[in-house]
């Protein structure tokens, strides 16, 4: 019927030491790598369950940025005609930013609620806790991959030919994933300690969207005289990692000049977010099972 257990697998013979919490600890990438299958299955579960439970299933991944594109196009291009460039058309312009933005927003919102939502797992079994928010980011990646073709099929219609900048896309996207993972992880940990974050997160996502040049052009102040009072605010925008990342993502895709200055700032900020988020998470993860 069943065979007796055979000698065990990879970690055989290794010694695990359990000690009181040590305070700040490093991110244990080796352990995360060891649990990569868990990461994969958790992300896969999120995607699968979401699409099984909804009527339109996987179509939501396309509909969400697609509908936003339609709405913003109506507002900014058709009704108010704020957007006056010939090429690319506004809907391509806005969708090329909405895709990375939607990824980011979905990732941080889901990751932010992921640990609280995995209460059963966390109180019953050990695994590297970072796998939970990371898996949520992974699930958002799947949505992104599903929605991306919507943008790409528009390119031939409008004669848009991506240039060399496309080669930069993977790097930009990787940094985007890192910043989403960092912010999501931070929110996930805060959410365990303070359930208020359940309500803060949607608000934060909305606010963040307006702080990111997704839907509007990088508006240059038309009159140098008016620069004086609030121009410093614009200097701060790249501190929002999404500013430079979304701008450069769009620029790289649509063959425009890469805003290197903003990209550099934003990438640095993204890394800061990633490490701060992960370190904070690691600092408090030992208490999850006790307070959740």
């Amino acid at each position: 019927m069943t065979t007796p257990p055979q000698p065990s697998e990879p970690t055989a013979g290794s010694t695990t030491v359990i000690r009181p919490p040590a305070g700040w600890q490093l991110i244990n990438f080796a352990e995360l790598w060891q649990f990569r299958d868990l990461l994969y299955f958790l992300a896969w579960r999120d995607v699968k369950v979401r699409y099984k439970q909804t009527l339109l299933g996987v179509a939501w991944a396309i509909l969400q940025p697609g509908l936003m594109m339609v709405i913003f196009t109506l507002i900014f291009s058709v009704i108010t005609q704020t957007y006056d460039k010939e090429s690319p058309p506004y809907h391509v312009f806005v969708l090329s930013a909405l895709l990375p933005w939607t990824f980011f927003a979905t990732a941080i919102a889901n990751a932010g609620n992921s640990v609280v939502g995995s209460e059963r797992l966390i109180t019953k079994i050990y695994f590297p806790r970072l796998a939970v928010p990371f898996a949520s980011v992974g699930a958002a990646l799947v949505d992104f991959a599903v929605a991306l073709p919507l943008l790409l099929i528009m390119f031939p219609f409008y004669g848009i030919v991506p240039g060399w900048g496309v080669l930069l896309l993977p790097v930009i996207f990787l940094v985007l994933v890192l910043s989403a993972a960092g912010v999501g992880t931070m929110l996930a940990a805060l959410n365990v300690a303070y359930r208020d974050f359940r309500y803060i997160i949607p608000f934060l996502v909305q606010l963040w969207m307006y702080a990111t040049p997704n839907i509007y052009l990088d508006l240059k102040p038309p009159d140098p005289e008016r620069v004086t009072r609030f121009s410093w605010v614009k200097q701060l925008l790249p501190l929002n990692p999404m500013t430079g990342l979304v701008e450069s993502f769009r620029a790289a895709l649509l063959n425009e000049a890469i805003p290197w200055h903003d990209l550099g700032f934003s990438a640095a900020m993204a890394l800061v977010f990633f490490f701060v988020g992960c370190f904070y998470f690691r600092r408090v993860e030992d208490s999850f099972a006790d307070v959740i």
């Binding site: 019927m1 069943t2 065979t3 007796p4 257990p5 055979q6 065990s8 697998e9 990879p10 970690t11 055989a12 013979g13 290794s14 010694t15 695990t16 030491v17 359990i18 000690r19 009181p20 919490p21 649990f35 299958d37 868990l38 994969y40 299955f41 958790l42 896969w44 579960r45 699968k48 369950v49 099984k52 439970q53 059963r120 797992l121 966390i122 109180t123 019953k124 079994i125 050990y126 695994f127 365990v192 300690a193 303070y194 359930r195 208020d196 974050f197 030992d286 099972a289 006790d290 307070v291 959740i292």
Partner: protein, 420 residues
């Protein structure tokens, strides 16, 4: 070879005293912390714990070693620290003091079906649950057929588990866990689920795991299971190791201590408060032996005699009294009710003694709880879960000279045989 070393392990929980402004739930809200910070800025720098916080030591100074191949049963009454110990060993929570060293791969099973998702199919859940338990994908693939065989769910492999019966669900969950093949297996009360034949299969599997050289730590309230499986036992009491040694001896000691906390065959109930006690009718409950002496032990198939002392703070018209007998997992095995046997009580307006006798209690050896209920149409007036604990002991069943039997119930039976 020692595979598990535990030194001076302790775990302290911060318990928030009631009646304070702190959130009544385990977690804090932002508002709580913000007001705290404003009120006591010094706490920002880590001094002075809030006065409303009390320390509760769930474990204290626990030290012991476990050798390779040992099957250690951890026993103790509720709140003795068993679960906390397992949680620390499974790395779910960290100790406050002390150190644990574990050699080899640890598999912990504090619950069957952790991470099962109702929307996913049996097949999908095998992979998900396996990964959660720490198995690699190829490992699950390799053992997939064995797991399905063990769980006996092959026709339903592609049905979402939300459509499974609870028995199928548990079988599948245990099957995945049973194929984890760890070097150290940590098991909580999980074997207690599922039907009897499956329980036996699980026990068999655990024995197999034990024989193959794996080390097992097993927590249970089910003393027969502890005695059947374990090679050594550890008795915890109030967070400390009370005794460490032979299984039989410790199980005896465990029974003795349970008895000590639950009185000599009786429980005084008048001081017991619970929301289900609208009026405190039940004053005490006592189990009596053949000589009408209080006892907590009943030989299998023996005479069950319960004496209830009732008070009548209010007059109760034609009350119905229910005596429920639950096993240690809370499953109702017997329900003895006055109306069902036509023993209708008169109007209750003064104190009195109510006796209930079952000539031959048809329950297998094990630990049981008595639940008491008193109702008068239409209201529940007094209800006490776990009013009294008693043990049915192994014994000569129905004078046959044989004590060995299986199942939840025992009953005399007549057999006849005619050669043809």
């Amino acid at each position: 070879m020692t595979v598990l070393t535990i030194q001076n392990l302790a775990k302290c929980y911060r318990v928030q005293a009631t009646g304070k402004t702190k959130s009544a739930y385990g977690y804090r809200t932002l508002r709580d912390d913000l007001t705290d910070w404003v009120k006591t800025p010094l706490r920002w720098f880590g001094n002075a714990a809030a006065a409303s916080v009390q320390d509760f030591w769930a474990l204290r100074d626990v030290s012991f070693d476990v050798k390779r191949g040992e099957v250690l049963g951890v026993i103790g009454h509720n709140g003795a620290g068993k679960s906390t110990l397992l949680k620390i060993l499974s790395r779910i929570t960290k100790p406050t003091l002390g150190e644990v060293r574990l050699k080899g791969r640890v598999g912990s099973l504090l619950e069957v079906g952790t991470g099962f998702h109702p929307e996913l199919t049996g097949r999908e859940n095998i992979f998900l649950n396996g990964a959660i338990l720490g198995m690699r994908r190829h490992e699950i693939q390799r053992k997939f057929d064995q797991i399905v065989d063990f769980a006996e769910i092959e026709p339903f492999l592609d049905t979402p588990v939300k459509r499974y019966s609870s028995g199928m669900y548990v079988r599948l969950a245990f099957a995945v866990a049973a194929h984890l093949e760890p070097e150290i297996l940590i098991v909580d009360e999980v074997l207690a689920v599922g039907d009897l034949s499956f329980q036996r299969k699980c026990m068999g599997r655990m024995r197999e795991v034990g024989r193959s050289g794996s080390t097992i730590l097993f927590v249970s309230h089910n003393m027969p299971a502890i005695e059947a499986l374990c090679t050594r036992a550890l008795l915890l009491d109030h967070g400390k190791v009370a005794m460490d040694g032979g299984v039989h001896e410790l199980v005896q000691e465990y029974h003795r201590r349970v008895l000590a906390t639950h009185g000599d065959g009786g429980s005084t109930l008048s001081d017991l408060n619970s929301p289900t006690r609208v009026h405190k009718i039940f004053r005490s409950v006592t189990m009596l032996d053949e000589k009408a002496e209080p006892t907590n032990f009943l030989p299998v198939g023996g005479r069950f005699h319960l004496r209830l002392v009732l008070d009548a703070p209010i007059a109760v018209e034609a009350p119905n009294v229910t005596i429920g007998i639950d096993d240690s997992l809370g499953q109702r095995l017997l329900s003895l009710q006055t109306p069902l046997t036509n023993s209708v009580l008169p109007r209750l307006q003064q104190s009195g003694v109510l006796e209930c006798v079952v000539e031959s209690l048809p329950l297998a050896p094990g630990d049981y709880w008595v639940k008491l209920g008193l109702a008068a149409v239409p209201d529940e007036i007094d209800e006490i879960e776990r009013a009294l604990r008693f043990t049915v002991t192994e014994g000569e069943l129905f004078g046959s000279g044989r004590g060995h039997h299986r199942g939840l119930c025992v009953t005399p039976s007549q057999w006849s045989f005619q050669a043809m």
